[in-house]
């Protein structure tokens, strides 16, 4: 199962909400969709969920066009919007049963599916509670459960962690990991970048409707920076090590912090290898040499300008 966003454009009058966006991901991947407010994330997700029509370009789900064959695409996509279910006078089970009916599930199969989804999302205990009485975290679970009713291969989640408390966030994260391990392709937008970095395999950074950066999380965290920060611990001789690093040309900055020395190196992974070899050859007894990666927040702040349209 491949999901491909191909040269997608969506213009609202003179405003280019999405401007030539392209990226792709596949089964089992959780992809973070990151960008400031008004960057075009929701618009892109709504097009992928068949709710909006692009000005140009396409969104293909396993080769099925979400633009031209929305009926077929809908069978493959589960969409969790950024708003929570608010139906009055309705219990969790009734809500899920209603959507299961709307997806065309019938009879005993519908009951089985609804019960299965309730169990998977941990809603069995509260299935008879009224929707309006639920906490945000529980409502988010209900929203996710609704999106899973027709067993879609692709899940699109717009800000699912917004407003959730730490426990609810951790539970949501576990659910996403479980879904990913089931082979579902998940596109998730969030402003909580540290969380995204923990669960996502890849990320797409978008601003003003344009993709600024996309790739596997590991690549982004290293490629995004032109320098590396390493933490070095050597047996004895911290002062010597500190002085030597100060004199090394490609070292930009060195800090001595107790037993450890933190150095900022100009260059990539190769430069780190060379530094380690050099230190060992100079007789330093290095017991720890650890690269401190930039986090997604730093990358985000580096590549985006905070501009909206």
């Amino acid at each position: 199962m491949n999901v491909e966003i191909v040269n997608l454009r969506k213009h609202f009058g003179a405003t280019r909400a999405v401007d030539d966006v392209s990226f792709a991901f596949s089964s089992g991947q959780i992809v973070g969709f990151v960008g400031p407010n008004g960057a075009g994330k929701t618009t892109t997700m709504r097009i992928l969920a068949t709710l909006d029509e692009p000005t140009a370009g396409d969104a293909l789900i396993d080769g099925v066009s979400a633009v031209e064959e929305p009926e077929s695409a809908r069978q493959l996509v589960g969409y969790v919007p950024d708003s929570l279910p608010t139906h009055r006078d309705m219990s969790v089970h009734e809500y899920l049963d209603f959507f299961a009916r709307a997806y065309g599930l019938k009879g005993a199969r519908r009951e089985k599916v609804v019960e299965g989804v309730e169990e998977f999302t941990g809603l069995t205990e509260i299935r008879d509670k009224m929707l309006v009485a639920l906490s945000k975290g529980m409502k988010q679970r209900v929203s996710l459960a609704r999106a899973l009713l027709h067993d879609p291969q692709v899940l699109i989640m717009d800000e699912p962690a917004a407003g959730l408390d730490p426990r609810a966030r951790i539970e949501l994260r576990e659910l996403l990991r479980a879904l990913s391990s089931q082979g579902k392709a998940i596109l998730i937008s969030s402003h909580i970048l540290t969380e995204l970095a923990e669960i996502c395999h890849a990320a797409v950074i978008i601003e003003r409707g344009t993709v600024l950066m996309a790739g596997a999380i590991g690549d982004l965290l290293t490629d995004g920076a032109s320098r590396r920060t390493v933490l070095i611990r050597a047996l004895g001789g911290q002062e010597t090590l500190y002085r030597e690093l100060l004199e090394t040309p490609r070292i930009r900055k060195v800090n001595l912090a107790g037993e450890e020395v933190v150095a900022e190196i100009d260059g990539d992974d190769q430069a780190c290898c060379e530094l380690l070899a050099e230190l060992v050859s100079h007789g330093h007894r290095v017991v720890e040499f650890k690269q401190q990666r930039a986090n997604l927040e730093e990358i985000f702040m580096t590549v985006t300008k905070g501009e909206t349209q």
Partner: protein
């Protein structure tokens, strides 16, 4: 063993339940759990009991008269109708507004449920609730039969009339709830709808009162019931298809069901009107048909210019491939040019039918009134065409930043200015009193509703005719371009806008 478990075991529950529209199941589940619904029902029943009790106690000897039952029935009917016409539309409309305010309705679009089923489900649920209310009140109503002065058929027909009116109000409320405007404007529209429902309430109660007094055995009564029935069914259908159009995604072919319905209604009621003319030797029904549909088409011109200028890919995808099918589809598919062409053709066809009837049945009663109505309605439509297309022209050339969906507003502003400005100018500069005199009727030259001034019709027709020709000529290049787009869109619709996947592909191994 409960009834539910018996049904479950027999498999009947699954089979029957699966065939019911999911929206109906949801709405009824919500309704039976709603305190508002239960409170309303109990209040209505209490009022009915108290009212009939007071009536019996206060009537004294007149209770044994010959119209005590009729009086009691009309009192109960007016109570039932007032609750029905307020509660059912308000409950359905408010719930829909609440659902529409977030993405709940959007969520339904990504299921297999069709927009038509969503509206039909809402309607059926509202009908069930209304039927529940009416059936709860039925014992009180039938009790009046024993007080004399009313027969059972009159009671049931009256209740049927009331029920249909409530359903029309519910459908109108659904339509108002779906109008894509802000909360403030929606409240204003809601209040306007309530005023209209109030008028409909009095018309219904007085109409039923009159019919009950006449009895349902006279020909006039049945003519009134049939006329009223056709009108209400048309309104229910019109509000239904318009609601479906509003709830459909913007990218879909929203205009198609509306135009098909209006055309079908125009055709069927037109044929019925022609049959009526030949039987009754009277043009009255055709006049009603002409006026009703010309008003609908005049409004449709304003709606048409506010539609999307270019059809989206989903619409293009559904254009028939055959030349004849494509030509017909042009008039019915979504699009500003398409809508303008359809409405204009329908205005001309309606006038054509009127002219043909004048020629063919010139000796029938009310032929002169038909001629007068045709002139009036034709002139009004011509002005509407001028204002709407001028508004569209201005939006394209001067206000290109304004969205097409607001073209009607430009046209409406022009209409307001054009209707009043000449007369106000004349009033201020030339005449200060006697403004109602027909001598000054020429100053109403820009007003589409002033065609009642028969002495100035030549002036009105000349001005609007020249204006229409000019604005049509200026719009022709745009119109032909849209026709061309429609034709070419049908042939090269597949795969438009797609390209190769960029290098930004995130592969599994890398992650």
């Amino acid at each position: 063993m409960t009834a539910e478990s018996i049904l479950k075991e027999s498999g009947a529950r699954g089979g029957f339940g699966d065939r019911i529209n999911p929206i109906v199941v949801k709405e009824l589940r919500q309704a039976v759990q709603s305190r508002f619904v239960i409170a309303t029902l109990l209040t209505l029943l209490s009022i009915q009991i108290v009212a009939i009790g007071i009536y019996i106690l206060a009537s004294g000897a007149s209770l044994f008269g010959f119209d005590a039952g009729r009086q009691a029935f009309l009192m109960l009917f007016s109570i039932l109708q007032s609750i029905g016409m307020i509660f059912a539309p308000l409950y359905t409309g408010a719930r829909l507004v609440a659902e529409r305010s977030d993405t709940n309705v959007d969520l339904l679009f990504i299921t297999t449920i069709k927009p038509r089923s969503i509206i039909a489900g809402k309607m059926f649920a509202a009908m069930t609730l209304t039927a529940l209310i009416y059936s709860a009140c039925m014992p009180f109503m039938t009790f009046t039969y024993f007080l004399r002065g009313i027969d059972l058929p009159s009671i049931f027909i009256s209740l049927g009339v009331g029920f249909v009116v409530v359903i029309a109000c519910v459908q109108a409320a659904v339509f108002v709830a779906l109008i894509p405007v802000g909360r403030a404007l929606k409240v204003i529209f809601g209040l306007v709808a309530l005023i209209v429902f109030g008028v409909a309430y009095f018309v219904t109660v007085f109409g039923v009162s009159d019919l009950v007094a006449r009895g349902f055995v006279t020909r006039v009564s049945w003519q009134l019931v049939v006329f009223f029935g056709v009108l209400v069914v048309f309104l229910i259908g019109l509000f239904f298809v318009m609601s479906v159009a509003l709830i459909m995604p913007v990218a879909s072919n929203r205009a198609l069901p509306v135009r098909l319905f209006i055309t079908a209604a125009w055709l069927s009621t037109g044929v019925a009107a022609l049959i009526n003319i030949s039987i009754e030797k009277d043009q009255r029904v055709l006049i009603a048909w002409l006026v009703a549909f010309e008003i609908v088409f005049a409004m449709a011109i304003f709606v048409a210019v506010s539609e999307r200028d270019r059809p989206g890919r989903r619409v293009l995808r559904s254009i028939p491939r055959s030349p004849l099918g494509r030509a017909l589809a042009f008039f019915f598919f979504s699009g500003a040019a398409n809508g303008l062409a359809w409405a204009s053709v329908m205005v001309v066809l309606t006038l054509g039918v009127a002219v043909a009837c004048v020629e063919l049945f010139s000796t029938h009663r009310n032929t002169n009134d038909l001629i007068d109505s045709a002139k009036w309605m034709g002139g009004m439509c011509l002005y509407f065409f001028c204002y709407a297309t001028t508004g569209a022209l201005l939006r394209r050339r001067l206000f290109s930043r304004v969205g097409t969906e607001l073209t009607w507003l430009i046209g409406a502003i022009l209409l307001a200015v054009g209707s009043l400005a000449p007369f106000l100018t004349g009033y201020i500069v030339f005449f200060h009193d006697q403004w109602w005199s027909e001598d000054f009727g020429a100053w109403w030259v820009g007003n589409p509703f002033a065609w009642g001034n028969k002495g100035h019709r030549v002036l009105y027709a000349s001005v609007s005719g020249v204006w229409a020709v000019h604005v049509a000529a200026m719009s022709l290049p745009w119109f032909f371009k849209r026709c061309e787009d429609f034709q070419t869109g049908a042939t090269c619709r597949k795969g438009g806008g797609t390209g190769s996947v960029s290098d930004l592909s995130i592969d599994q191994e890398a992650s």
